[in-house]
Each structure stands twice: as structure tokens, then as C-alpha cells.
Amino acid sequence: MELFLTAILILAAAALVTALLAALASFCPPSAANCRTANCLGSCCAALGCLTGLCAVAAGPWDATLILELPWGLPAGALVLGLDPLSRIFLLPVFGLGMVCAVSGGLSLRHTSPREHNLGAHWFFYLLLLLGMVVVMSARDAVLFLLAWEIMSLAPFFLIDFNDGDSKVRDASWVYLVAAHLGAVALIAFFGLLWQSAGTTSLAALQGGQALREAGPGVLAALFILAVLGFGAKAGLAPLHVWLPEAHPAAPSHVSALLSGAMINAGLYGLMRSLNVLSALWIAPEWWGWSLLLLGLATGLMGILKALAQSNLKRLLAYSSVENMGLMFMGVGAGLIGQSSGNAWIALLGFTGALLHMLNHAGFKGLLFLCAGEVLHATGTVHMELLGGLQKRLPLLGAAFALGAAAIACLPPLSGFAGEFVLALAMLDGPSLPGVERQMGLLLALTGLALISGLAAALYAKAYGITFLGEARTGFAANAHAASWRTLWPLGLPALACVAGGLLAPLFFGLASFTALNAAPLPDGLMAGALEARAQVRGSLGMVSLLGAAGLCLALALLLARRLLLRRRGAPVARTAQSVQTWGCGFQAGTPRIQYTDASFSEPLARVFAPVMGLRVRRRQVSGLFPDRAALNVTAPDRLRSGLFTPLFEAVERLCNACKIIQHGKIHLYILYILATVVGLLVWGLHT
């Protein structure tokens, strides 16, 4: 626990110093030295703090529950931090990704001009975000949790707003701020109601649901709905996901990687923590699990289909985060269903699958966002229809992106498959539930999962294929700067996580299942079944890794055999590779512009899923004998935003405008208001 505190102190001290540097930079004329110092200090201290934090999380036995109580000056709440398995597993991505993103961000910002950006402020808010996340995941008191939550929600606003010269970026950060605070409103109501009905703000006392014994089912249901709203807004559960596709493309890439890989997990963490409080063991009503499962499935399907429609690489990745969050919520829903129906297999594997997928998602999504940032850095754009052929110019970056894409498309033997395998196994036991409708519900949800993963493979084939393969479509890609290993080395850690998460899957499964049993305890009667299920699934995952490794060796052997065959023919591979043009079926005058683009790649699926994808196609067709230029423009605006939230906020604005008639700026009338109020109160006081 001392080590953990040290990590927090390092981060806090660095935040103070960077705040000083930021203040200095804003009062003095901008200097390159200040900028460089802030960048160096901020990134190095963030990385150091995260490394210490990683050691603190990994040190000691995984199941040790540590509590640290510090003096606290406020009348409500207490300053209590704690580490238990659930906190530990969510802190792993926070510290791991926080470290990688700090180093990568430091490298990419090293040439920033001091006139344009105040790097001290940037790193101050980065460190604040890290601190907020760390405290959220380790707070053992509701007031402390809410405070840290607020810090964690506010800091990204300033991080997203990094390139504030662009009006789109400013819009995006406002959308983020509004969404974050709408979620926070639900959370304040949640904790207020919790405090009122349980009489304590200490999360440790609330744990296990003993404190809520007297609360009626109505209160519990209200608490559950508030928790899903508040935490779902952070996690990007549909329809509260609208901030993700706006915020992630606008933010600098190391920030989007951290937000997508670690911060949105806070939603899942909060939900699991509050479910532990709410479901006083096995009494969670059945509809909780089913509603979470359905919400997760809907979010997953919507997310992957909207992602397929995007042409901005970072927007695509943001929608894919929404999809992955949906999968995790499906896991939690399945776990709750298992708990309420007394099925140890479904309960254990549902929660474990969600946690395992969360860990793996942090790895590959962090890698992909950082790669997208490098693409932006090298070419100046992330619009896929302008790119292409980057694999040749940036071979290392291309390989890293290919690895991440294969992992997130759930291809064995990489890490994405392990999480989805466990989730699928959880739902496979659906036939043991009572009643055909429940059995079919779980099995059809699994079919939905299969559809999502099939679409994910198509999505990432597109994301990698259109961006990195083929010929450069425009000058952006053709004139890409080379990216050397000096700037790319921080990507090594998440890349390693993608491979290790697959080949060492039994290890991570053991960690996640242990945490699941600890965070969502099962009644004693089911414990034996859960332990047996764990051993069996661990065996299965062991076979998956073994076969994965065998498959890799087989692929390597086949490639070697091909090389040998070619060598024997005496035709050097290298020479033939340079000499011929791609066969264009006789068409000689092909240009890179006739290649398939992202919109044309997803066109067959867009035709099938048109109602969900919501493509807006604008075309100017060829007509007449001497036609003009033809044009085709395909965009995919978010319909939930334009159809649900825009009218809602416009209505709010109209209401506020209507209220303006009482606010006119005439002081004597304001004094009259005060007088009227005082008289009114006096009359009321006399009356009672």
C-alpha cells in the first residue's frame, strides 16, 4: 500500500510542478525551454508514477485487501483508499496504458511550438486525469468517489480541447462535457439515494449489500436504473454513446488511447462495484440481468455497424470502443442472469468474460489509437479515402496496426479471441436455464455475438486494408514522413499485450475469474460448481493457446516451404516483386483512384443494414451529352445525436429562452422581486 501511495504522490507532485510551469508560461512570453521542460517532466513523471503504480498493483498476493485511511477535513465522507481484486484489475490498464500513452505523447509533442500550445497545462490535466482514475478505482467512500469522478470527468475536457483553434474540436469537447455531466447528475442522485437508504457513505460497509437489507424493491430498482444511466454514460452505452465518436477524433491520439482504453472502463468498474452493493447476493431481480444483456447487445450491434460506416479512422475506432463496451455489458448481464438463476457456470464466466475482455481491449485499443496518431503525424490526415499504401512507407507502424487489428477482430491466437471465447462459453450454457424463452434469449444473444465478431473482422480488414495496403490514393499518403523506431518503441508494450493476452490466456483468465468470484460472490452452494467450471475453462483456454502457437508454427513452416520452393526454381523473389504491375484485367491506364475505398468496401453490408448504419449519400450523376464532373459523397452522421439529443437540447434551450423574460437587467424590478419574495415568505410564515 505504501508503494501505491508513492505512485499517487509522484503523480500529484508532478501535477503541481506542471501547473507551476503552465502558470509561468501563461504570464511570461512563451519560451521553448519552458515548453521542453514541461513536456519532458510531465511525460517522464507520469510514466514513472504509472510504473510505480503497476508495481504496487502487482506486488503482494492478488486477493489481499488493503485499506488506507487518511485524515479528511470535510464533514461528510472519509479519505479511504483500498486495493482489492476488482480495483487491481481495473488499475492495470490505467497504469499500463497511462505509462505507454505518457511516453508516446511526450515523443509526439516534443516539437510543439510554445506559441501554439501550453504544454505545462496539457500535462497538468493529463496527470490530473490519471490521478482521478486512480482514486476512482481505489476509493472506498462515496463522497471521495464522486469527487474523483468529477476530476476524472473534467480533466479530459481540457485534454480534448488541445487543438482549440479548430471549431470542430471545441464543439467536440463541449459535447463531451455535457455528456459527462449528464452522467454525473445520475450518479449524484444514485449516491444520494444510497446514502439515504443505507445511512453510510463508506463503500466498504456497503459491500455485500448487508446495509441495504431494509430497502424496498422500488428503491433498489431506482438505484439500479440510476447506476446504469450514470455509469453507462461514461462507458458509452447506447444511446448515451454520442460523446465518444465526437471526442476521440478531436483529442490528441495519446489522450484518445487513454480515454478509450482506460477511462471508459470506469463505467464498467462503477457498475460492477454498485452491483456488488445492490445485489445483496442472489437477490438481484431477473430483469436486471436481461436488461443489461439486451442493452449490451444493442450497443454492440449499433457500435460495430456505425463503425463500418465511418471513413475517419479515429471515429471508426471510437465506435468500435462503443461496440466492445457493449460486449462487456453483455458479459455482466449474463453474469447477473446466472446469479439470479443459481447457475454457477453462467455467473462466473459472464463476469470473467467481461473483465478479461476489458483487459484485452485496453491493450489493442490503446495500440490502435496510438497507431492512428502516428498515421496522423506522418501524413496529416486520418481519412481513409485519402490514404493507402502506408505499409510500404511505414512498415513498422503497419505491422503494429495489423497486429492490433487482428487482435481486436477476435482472431485466434491473439488476445481478443480469449475474452470472446469466455463470453461465448458463458452463454452456451443457456439451455440449462428454466423456460424456453430464457434459453432462447441467451442462445440468440450468443448468435448476436457471432454476428458482431463477424462484422468486426470485416471492419478491421477495411481499417487496415484501406489505410495501409494498396497504392497511395492522394499526396497525403504518397508524401508520408517516415516513422522510425525511435518514436514507435512505446507501441511495443501494447503490441506485446496483444500477443501475450492470447498465448498466455489461461494466466489472465485465472486472474479475471478470481476477481469475478471476489467481486460478484456466489452463494456457498454454487462455489464448488464455479471452481470446477473455472478449472475446465482454464483447460480449454490452455488448449486454445497451445493450438494457437501450433498454428503460428504451421504458418511459419508453410511460408518457409514456399520460400524454399521459389528458391529452388532459381527465380529470386525480390526481382519479380519489383517488375510487374498488378493485373488489371487488361486495363492498362489504371490509377490509384480506381482502388476500392472505405465506403465501397462496406457497401454490401451497408445495403443489408441500411436502417442502422444511416448512410447519407449525396451524388451528382453523369447526365447529358457533355457531362459535368460526377461526384459521390457518403457520410454517416449519428442519428441518435441528430434525432434524439439535438431536439432534446433545443427544447431545453427554448424553455430557458422563455424564462428570460424575467431576467431583463432592470435593477428596480429586481428589487421588486426581492420585496415580493420577502413579503410572500412573511405571509407564509404568518400563515403557518
Partner: protein, 319 residues
């Protein structure tokens, strides 16, 4: 090594050797229907031998993704095949949930080939890749539906015999194709016969046969798989051709596994082999008597197959 493993290895060896025979049979049947003599039955073997002896031509746009794609795809298909119980013998590699791994391994192979196609920078191959990605994404849930029906059947069996410890083993391909499905439909559960029917539709879709795709031409704009592998040559093309044959065998063996009743070992293996060869002939018949569907109709075909599979699933659950 026990007798079962040896028997399985023999079966696997047979599959690896005989797989290229299936396209030959299909072509022969089609030729007979058209009143022609047709290519030799062993034509695919000759093609493979010829391709392995040739050099490769690689476009200057292509990178390592293009060169490595076919090898990765073939390795994934081989691994998937090794999980499948063949000729009634359970796979020694089988484990609980291995059908998920097999399905995703096939997906891995497809992913590698799609990337290889996009790597050429040709719009033809982009077209093929896009269509392959779309239709395989739609075929995935159908495959899962049939597998789910079979797992719930084998879970039922485990529950009836009361060996709850074997829960995870019941989720393996070897348990699903252990013969109980055939016994059940022989005993009158007709809904189980929908499963081989859906598998046959999936065989046509996944292996790019008529009515989904025409494997004979590659210059038609309606092509899917053939146009996607247009630029490969030499050993790489050999790997693709062989991988396609193995995939055909994979789906034929799935269908055959449900149709063969449990018999003594060698008889069952022989019957299974016969059914696989007969399925190849059936594909030939389908290709001869049907026209290819319009591309926009293919999702309807898959939707129909999904409806059949869901019906079978519901009926199994209701029992």
C-alpha cells in the same frame, strides 16, 4: 498412442490426401450434366503439382501481407480441420468450446486472404474482398445457430446421464458429432434433419459455389472468391487451391457427421467417406441445375438458412 488416436490420424491423413478429389468430382458431375466428357477426376492434383513447380509473379504494389496471406490461411484451415471429428473418430485435440475456435480459425484464414487481396491495389480484388467480408460476416451467425442446436442436444444427453462433471466436454465438436444426433433423428426427431440442410447451404456459401458465387469465371463483375485471389500465382496459388479443397472437406465432413449413424468403427468411417463424396456430387448437381443468385439476393438465402436453423433450435429447446 491408443487405437483411437491412430484411427483419427489415419482419417486426417485421408482427408488431407483426398480433399483435392472433391473439386474434381464436382467438375465431372457438371460436365456430365452438360453432356461433355469433362476434366480428369484428378485434375486438381495435377494443378497443384504444376503450381508448386512454378515461380511467382508479384505486383509491385504488394507487400508481405500479399505473400504471407495464403500461407496463414492454409495453416488456419488445417488447424480447424484437425479439431473436427473425422469418420466418427473424436479428435484428440478436441476440447470444450472447440467449435468456437474452429469457426474463428476459418475467419482468420478469410481475414488473411482479404488483406492479401486489398494489398494488390486492384479494384477487382477490392470488390471480391468486400463481398467476401460481407457474406462471411452474415454467414457466421448461421453457423453458430446450428452449432448451438447441436450443443444443446449434447448438453441434454449429459444431463440425462447425470455426469455434470462432463459439462465442458459436451461443448466440443467431438461430443456434438458423437452419433447421438443421428440416433435422435432416426428415432423420429425430424427437426434435427434441418441441421445437415443448413450445413449444406453454408457449404455452398463458404466455399463460393453456385448459387452464391461462380467458381469458373473470374472476369465477371459478380465474382467473389475467385476474383479475390486473382493475382496469386505459383506456390501461393497452390496453397489457396488446396486450402479451398480442405475447407470444402471441412463442411462436407460436418454435414456427413450428422448423417452417419453410429456403426462399428470401420463401417462408420467408410460410410462417412461415401457421404462426403456424395455431397460433392450433390454440389455438382446443384451447380448444374441452378443459376447464380443476384448478389442482393444472397443475404436472403442466408436469412432463410438462419430462419431454418432458429426453427431447429427452438424445436430442440421445446423438447
Amino acid at each position: 498412442m491408443n487405437q483411437g488416436t491412430v484411427f483419427y490420424l489415419i482419417q486426417l491423413f485421408l482427408a488431407l490426401i483426398l480433399a483435392p478429389l472433391l473439386p474434381g468430382i464436382i467438375n465431372r458431375v457438371k460436365a456430365r450434366f452438360a453432356g461433355r466428357q469433362g476434366k480428369p477426376l484428378l485434375q486438381t492434383y495435377y494443378d497443384l503439382a504444376r503450381l508448386l513447380r512454378k515461380g511467382e509473379v508479384i505486383g509491385r504494389t504488394a507487400t508481405w501481407t500479399f505473400s504471407a496471406g495464403p500461407g496463414v490461411a492454409l495453416a488456419a484451415t488445417l488447424c480447424a480441420l484437425a479439431l473436427l471429428p473425422l469418420g466418427g473418430a473424436p479428435s484428440p485435440l478436441g476440447f470444450g468450446g472447440d467449435f468456437l475456435l474452429a469457426a474463428y480459425l476459418l475467419g482468420m484464414g478469410r481475414f488473411a486472404l482479404i488483406l492479401a487481396a486489398l494489398d494488390t491495389g486492384s479494384s477487382f480484388e477490392g470488390m471480391g474482398a468486400s463481398r467476401e467480408a460481407a457474406f462471411s460476416a452474415l454467414a457466421e451467425p448461421v453457423l453458430f445457430l446450428v452449432f448451438l442446436m447441436l450443443t444443446s442436444l449434447s448438453l441434454d444427453l449429459v444431463r440425462h446421464t447425470g455426469q455434470s462433471a462432463e459439462l465442458v466436454a459436451a461443448l466440443s465438436l467431438s461430443a456434438m458429432f458423437g452419433g447421438q444426433a443421428t440416433e435422435a433423428w432416426l428415432a423420429g426427431r425430424a427437426e434435427l434433419l434441418l441441421a445437415p440442410a443448413v450445413f449444406f447451404v453454408l457449404l455452398l456459401v463458404e466455399n463460393c459455389r453456385i448459387p452464391v458465387d461462380d467458381p469458373n469465371t473470374h472476369l465477371e463483375l459478380t465474382m467473389i472468391h475467385e476474383v479475390m485471389v486473382l493475382d496469386h500465382s505459383g506456390p501461393n496459388l497452390a496453397m489457396i487451391v488446396y486450402g479451398a479443397a480442405l475447407k470444402l472437406w471441412f463442411f462436407a465432413a460436418l454435414t456427413a457427421g450428422l448423417l452417419t449413424p453410429p456403426l462399428p468403427l470401420w463401417q462408420q468411417a467408410g460410410l462417412c467417406l461415401l457421404i462426403i463424396l456424395a455431397l460433392a456430387a450433390a454440389v455438382g448437381v446443384v451447380e448444374s441445375v441452378m443459376a447464380r443468385l443476384r448478389l442482393t439476393r444472397i443475404p436472403h438465402l442466408l436469412g432463410g438458412a438462419a430462419a431454418l436453423a432458429s426453427l431447429a433450435l427452438i424445436l430442440t429447446q421445446v423438447r
